[in-house]
Amino acid sequence: MSNVFIVGFDGTKDGKRALDFALERAKSDNAEVHIVYVLEWSPYSFLTPEELEKRHARRKEEVELASSQIMAPLLKELEGSGLSTHGVIRYGKIPDVICDVAKEVGATQIIVGRHGGSDMAARFFGSVPGTLVQIAPVPITVVP
């Protein structure tokens, strides 16, 4: 079975660091890379009646924006790298979505960046890498 890497990408420089790390490893391991971009979403959040009405339209806009502004340019940039790269855009809780995609594509490893902050919020509520370390179905690498 070939190696499949999952990279959590959020468009920040931390995400870019994780991606660069993954691409480098993928070259030496001859791995396929799936780049996952998650739009944070909870089905239990509260919306006003007007937001309910416009939700479907907003969702379409958000996906189009994420695709045209982030994923498409990124995949284009990677075209010449000689690697097999795929882009995934999904809604949900970031760690859950990354794990779901990892299971779906039979990933062998998950690679994510970290913001490196030590703010109180992260201490109380946990961070994406922290949660992933707890729940990931495959080995995980956190790129500092």
């Binding site: 006003t48 009646p49 309910l52």
Partner: protein, 516 residues
């Protein structure tokens, strides 16, 4: 740069609205000086029309010593018919409704769309409010403990009405090219009656519904809410001696600006905060009620004894059993709005391939509103022995809770204001949808409606316009006339949806998704 422009545009509308209010301030203040005069003039002008309409909508027949408004009978009979027609759907599919709200049947590919939970929460924030706090107190103070039994029964029956109207709301909604949706009774009346070869009647009923809905939005959904929350605000800030006692206009302007910022400026964060705080307040309210009930656990048996005895003997109540029944039915109908058609507008926005699933979810609404929250209020009033204290309305509920927690009236005031605010936001939307149904989907016309809606917040809290409020209250109940007629005619569509859905559910074609 673009973002800055958007940002400016975002703030422009509410700022203009605020400026308009400030410009109005001196005249409102003057109006306040001559408040009695202006109130009286408006009251005198509107009274003949208002009285005529109120006496038609709330036409009451004397039953024993009490008057029974026929519109309440209209709603309860309809709820009973739907309960029987759908074979006690509210009990058979209660568990399935909970599964749907939990998201067990939600396709993960639809993440990011409106969930069943969100549609239910938004619709609930429009119905949970003063009816649950003040209405119940009125019911038990007039109808005795027994009124609680009939209120619960009406709540349980009302679940079938909600199921019917919300299924139709999704089934016959309009979906536009840009992905937005508009739904509600006016749409199912028009489209559904069209399919039944009665397009003219459907359109007529739709227009009638929309006019009543606009009236109801300005009155019961706005002025009444503003007025009651101001009263409660004055009560906790010192009553007659309060600095705010004669400054309803000031309270109104602050409230109107906050409402305006949400509905005109689209600053969703305020609405989102409220929508988060409202369920939290509801949980605190029910939690406090539960604590009081647990503290007096030895009296729970006695309280239920009182409720059952009162329901069937009507001892000590004006009108006996019938008196208790009328009060219970009336307050349940006032509180959960089942059969009125309003919630169908909010529920229509959910993303589902099966309209019936929204029907199942919506039947939880009268259950939470009436069977759980209203019953809690009634139990606390009975257990704390405040029944018979001579008090009624919010004051009765407040003193019942205060007997256990001295700080509760303050919390209740906050709850009343927040409930009122979320009800206003919901009704501004219901009214707007009815308005655009009549005048067409046009941004300028929408803006006119929203600005007028904000002005009515100021009017509602600064004037004592009894007849205007009575009039608008009757408009809300007038919505039930075209809506229930529509439900009777269109219920076979719901039955067909139910049959095909349940067949696929039992065959395993529709099944739960595995969620991580």
């Amino acid at each position: 740069m673009g973002e800055i422009c958007n940002f400016r545009r975002l703030f422009q509308a509410p700022v203009l609205a605020v400026a308009a209010f400030l410009a109005l301030l001196p005249s409102i203040a003057q109006a306040q000086d001559a408040a009695m005069g202006i109130d009286e003039k408006i009251n005198a002008a509107i009274s003949p029309v208002s009285n005529a309409i109120v006496s038609v909508i709330f036409y009451s027949v004397p039953v024993g010593d009490t008057a029974f408004p026929l519109i309440v009978g209209w709603l309860v009979v309809a709820a009973t018919i739907f309960t029987l027609y759908f074979g006690f759907i509210q009990f058979r599919y209660f568990g399935h409704a909970i599964s749907l709200v939990k998201g067990d049947y939600a396709n993960p590919d639809d993440a990011g769309e409106v969930s069943h939970f969100q549609a239910l929460a938004t619709a609930l924030s429009g119905t949970v409010g003063l009816g649950n706090i003040a209405g119940v107190a009125v019911a038990v103070s007039i109808g005795g403990a027994g009124a609680t039994f009939w209120m619960i029964l009406a709540g349980l029956l009302g679940m079938a009405s909600k199921f019917t109207e919300c299924t139709l709301g999704v089934k016959f909604r309009n979906e536009y090219g840009d992905g937005t949706v508009s739904g509600g009774p006016m749409y199912y009346l028009e489209k559904g009656f069209g399919l039944k070869n009665m397009p003219g009647l459907g359109k007529g009923l739709g227009i009638f519904f929309a006019i009543c809905c606009i009236g109801g939005a300005f009155g019961g959904g706005n002025m009444f809410q503003a007025n009651q929350s101001f009263q409660q605000f004055v009560n906790v800030t010192g009553g007659e001696a309060s600095f705010f006692a004669d400054k309803g206009w000031l309270f109104g302007i602050v409230m109107a600006v906050i409402v305006g910022v949400v509905i005109i400026g689209g600053i969703k964060s305020i609405a989102r905060v409220t929508e988060k705080v409202v369920p939290f307040m509801a949980v605190i309210y029910v939690g406090a009620a539960l604590v009081i009930i647990l503290m007096n656990y030895d009296m729970v048996g006695w309280a239920f004894g009182e409720i059952f005895a009162g329901a069937f003997t009507g001892a000590g109540v004006a009108g006996g059993v019938v008196g208790a029944l009328i009060q219970g039915f009336k307050r349940a109908a006032f509180s959960n709005e089942a059969g009125i058609g309003s919630a169908s507008i909010a529920h229509s926005a959910v993303r589902t391939k099966e309209p019936i699933t929204e029907g199942f979810v919506s039947l939880l609404e009268p259950f939470i509103d009436t069977v759980v929250i209203c019953t809690m209020t009634a139990l606390v009033i009975i257990i704390t022995g405040q029944l018979g204290s001579g008090l009624t309305g919010v004051a009765l509920t407040s003193s019942a809770f205060e007997s256990a927690f001295s700080w509760f009236p303050l919390l209740l005031a906050v709850a009343v204001i927040l409930f009122a605010f979320s009800t206003m936001i919901s009704w501004s939307y219901y009214g707007l949808k009815a308005w655009t149904y009549l005048v067409g989907e046009d941004k300028r016309m929408e803006m006119i409606f929203k600005i007028v809606f904000c002005l009515f917040v100021v009017l509602g809290s600064s004037m004592t316009l009894g007849p205007v409020i009575d009039f608008s209250d009757s408009m809300i109940f007038a919505m039930a006339i075209p809506n229930v007629i529509g439900l009777y005619v269109l219920m076979p569509f719901v039955k067909a949806e139910l049959e095909q859905y349940t067949a696929r559910l039992s065959s395993g074609e529709i099944r739960k998704f595995k969620h991580s």
